[in-house]
């Protein structure tokens, strides 16, 4: 019974946070992309930048709303499902969450209103400033959350008094060892997600005949951004992995599917980890490569999973298959991103033909990659979060200790309700993005969110 509640609560939180992260992943970077469009427009006065802004600000508003409502859900679930978390480490998690709300949430929420509806009511520079503050707010929000999450992976700067964590050094807590890597990795993931989304949706509009200057400029910006960022992301990911090896070796062992500590460990490309037998089946690997990647020495020693089983048989490493596979999905998607963005950039650069140089198959590939950022981001988060299990805060408290004693059927019923709502909303979200794309491609106006007609501005408004 207790176990069922734990499992269901975990699935419910995983469902919630998976659904939630999709939207911040878009808004964190899209805010800056919109600011870029706006600044280009301010600088050049070219209408095409504003056209791109007007289309993507709608996707931003939609994503933002989805992110807000699913984020509120999570702040409540700490209490409804995981009261043990705040009771034990609330002295550390609390201030970090409080700073997120105070420095980020309000900033985003208030200036979003001005960004979306204030174009005709405020001077242009205030509107640009509002766009900046919204982008800055989403970034701050990501910062505080990543600080807390990283602290859960690499906790420091605290002492335990009567079983409760008390902060001793805030700068050590904030700048904990995995934070810089995780934050950079996530921000880059966000920019890549947005790049592929813009490239994919623009390719779709292009294919069905919406060949405007705004589409052209958005697609080109997105493809080049992706091509520049993906190698950086691969490099940062590698650093992040090395950091994980230092602080959470069990996670890396699960990622690599490496059971026994040894030297000259092969890099496993494919295997089916068998948790019962504690070995891999159908293993295909490249000799010594894992040792080389993780220790930069072909014969370096790499710790295996068997080191993380206590003498009385308690397993202190995560289940291997989910970590092993989600890691491969993330890396595979990343490599595909590299291939697609570099070939598309090459085609654009070749003989300076711009996006006209993209053949149909390339456009289809870009459309297919529209949501690849989501896939890679989710897979990455699954790797790191499942990889921390059975710990909730590494070495400090287990997930089991934090769960609320809510009857399993009750958790199951709310879980089903959330899943239904999320599935419906996700479908509606993707549908609406492509609906707006079709609408603009047909040359129909998709409204004047940021520039209402002068007639709509009432007398009561201040003279500008």
């Amino acid at each position: 019974m207790e176990l069922e509640t734990l499992l269901l609560s975990r699935i419910q939180f995983a469902a919630n946070i998976s659904f939630h992260i999709l939207f911040p992943t878009i808004t964190i970077a899209l805010g800056w992309v919109l600011l870029f469009f706006k600044l280009r427009y301010n600088r050049t006065g070219e209408e095409r930048w504003m056209e791109a802004y007007r289309f993507w600000v709608k996707i931003f508003a939609l994503s933002f709303a989805m992110g807000v409502v699913s984020g509120i859900t999570m702040s409540f679930q700490f209490g409804t499902n995981w009261p043990g978390f705040m009771e034990k480490v609330g002295n550390i998690a609390g201030p970090l969450l409080a700073y997120e709300i105070m420095t980020a949430f309000f900033l985003e929420a208030v200036f979003l209103g001005i960004m979306l509806f204030g174009f005709s009511r405020v001077p242009n520079w205030v509107h640009t400033l509002a766009t900046f503050l919204v982008a800055f707010g989403t970034m701050m929000s990501a910062f505080w959350i990543i600080v807390l999450n990283s602290w859960m992976h690499t906790p420091q700067g605290f002492e335990m008094i009567d079983g409760v964590a008390h902060a001793t050094d805030w700068s050590a807590i904030i700048f904990n060892p995995s934070m810089p890597y995780r934050f950079t990795h996530m921000v880059l993931a966000s920019f890549l997600t947005v790049s592929f989304l813009i490239a994919g949706v623009s390719a779709f509009r292009w294919l069905i005949g919406g060949r405007t200057e705004g589409v052209r400029v958005a697609m080109k910006t997105a493809i080049i951004a992706a091509a520049v960022l993906i190698p950086v992301q691969i490099l940062v990911g590698d650093f992040h992995g090395l950091n994980t090896k230092e602080y959470q070796p069990a996670k890396v062992a699960a990622m690599e599917g490496n059971w026994e500590t040894s030297t000259g460990v092969p890099l496993i490309l494919f295997a089916i980890p068998d948790e019962e037998a504690r070995e891999n089946r159908f293993e295909i690997g490249i000799p010594k490569l894992a040792s080389f990647i993780l220790t930069h020495d072909w014969n370096g020693e790499v710790q295996g999973l068997n080191d993380f089983v206590t003498e009385d048989g308690e397993v202190l490493h995560p289940r291997v298959s989910p970590v092993f596979w989600s890691f491969r999905v993330m890396v595979g998607t990343g490599l595909l991103m590299l291939l697609v963005s570099w070939s598309a950039t090459y085609m654009i650069m070749r003989r300076k033909r711009g996006v006209e140089g993209l053949p149909k198959p390339m456009l289809y590939a870009l459309i297919g990659m529209s949501f690849s950022g989501w896939l890679a981001t989710l897979a990455g988060w699954y790797t790191t979060e499942i990889g921390r299990q059975p710990w909730l805060v590494q070495g400090v408290m287990t997930t089991k200790e934090a769960v609320a004693d809510v009857p399993a059927p009750l958790v199951l019923s709310t879980l089903i309700a959330y899943l239904l709502v999320y599935a419906g909303l996700l479908l509606a979200y993707v549908f609406v993005i492509f609906y707006l794309a079709r609408k603009t491609a047909r040359g129909e106006s998709i409204g004047t969110t940021i520039a209402p007609s002068p007639a709509a501005v009432p007398k009561a408004m201040p003279a500008e």
């Binding site: 939609l62 509120i72 409804t80 609330g90 609390g94 209103g113 309700a417 609906y435 501005v457």
Partner: protein
Amino acid sequence: MNYFGDPTIWLPFVFAALMGVSILIYVILDGFDLGVGVLFPFANDDEKDRMIASIGPFWDANETWLVLAVGLLLVAFPSAHGAILTALYLPVAIMLIGLILRGVAFEFRAKAPAPHKHLWNNAFFAGSLMTSLSQGFMLGMYVMGLEWTLANVGFAILTAVFLTVGYSFIGATWIIHKTSAVLQAKAVGWAKGGIWGLVLGIGAISLATPFVSTRIFDKWFSFPEALYLSPLPILSGLLVVWLWSMLRKMPYAEDRRSWQPFAAATALWVTAFGGMAYSFYPYVVPEQITIYEAASAPESLFIILIGTCIVLPTIMGYTVLSYFIFRGKATELRYD
């Protein structure tokens, strides 16, 4: 670690006050935009667009006060947060799904194809209704001490209805202020039809509260404590009379005083909330856990407080700025 005086006394008190203020601001601000959602079925399609336009730039920031209130409960009184939210597991889940539905409906109703618009209008109404009802239900359960007995649930169902009607009332007063002509006249009617919810809600909670515990009973009916409380019912009564006399004559020529019903409604919420806060202090979980028992460690509260002192005035500042920029009658707010 010696701050000013004993930090285990004044820090919890300050945080309880901050949390109280956040909840109060939340029920007023999100109260009116939830109320606008509850009133949706009574309006035609054009009016619906105008009603959305009257809350569009604000709702998101309004909801953030809920996040702040729960956040403060979470960070300042973690054990109370766990106790309250696990006891209210189901209504919280219903409220969250309601908030999700109405929040996304703002965007979807304008961006989805025209034939789908009525679906999202329904989602907006249903979400607003679910949120209001579950908040009212939670209020009732909280007052009754979070015990799931039949009588308490019955009481909570009553407060659910009253709070929902109360929200629709303050929503109507907001529409009176933000619109004109036919819709404004309609909203006056809605306000007149909804004021009973607020009156009965305050009445029901006032009747029930002193009987929850002898401690509160003594606070209310023993001399001289009763004197401290006495201004609240008198003030509330006067506010209701003033509201009613205004609503009967509305709208005034040249839209004079259109902001006053909303202001009076706000004042009414403040008195009701003040009464509750006075009664339940010093408990954060009624009659079980006091704010002093539930408080986090002083060093953690202190670091939050430093940030709060800097950030909260800033938040207030740009919130006022936003209401200033979007002041006046709601006009076309094109989402699509």
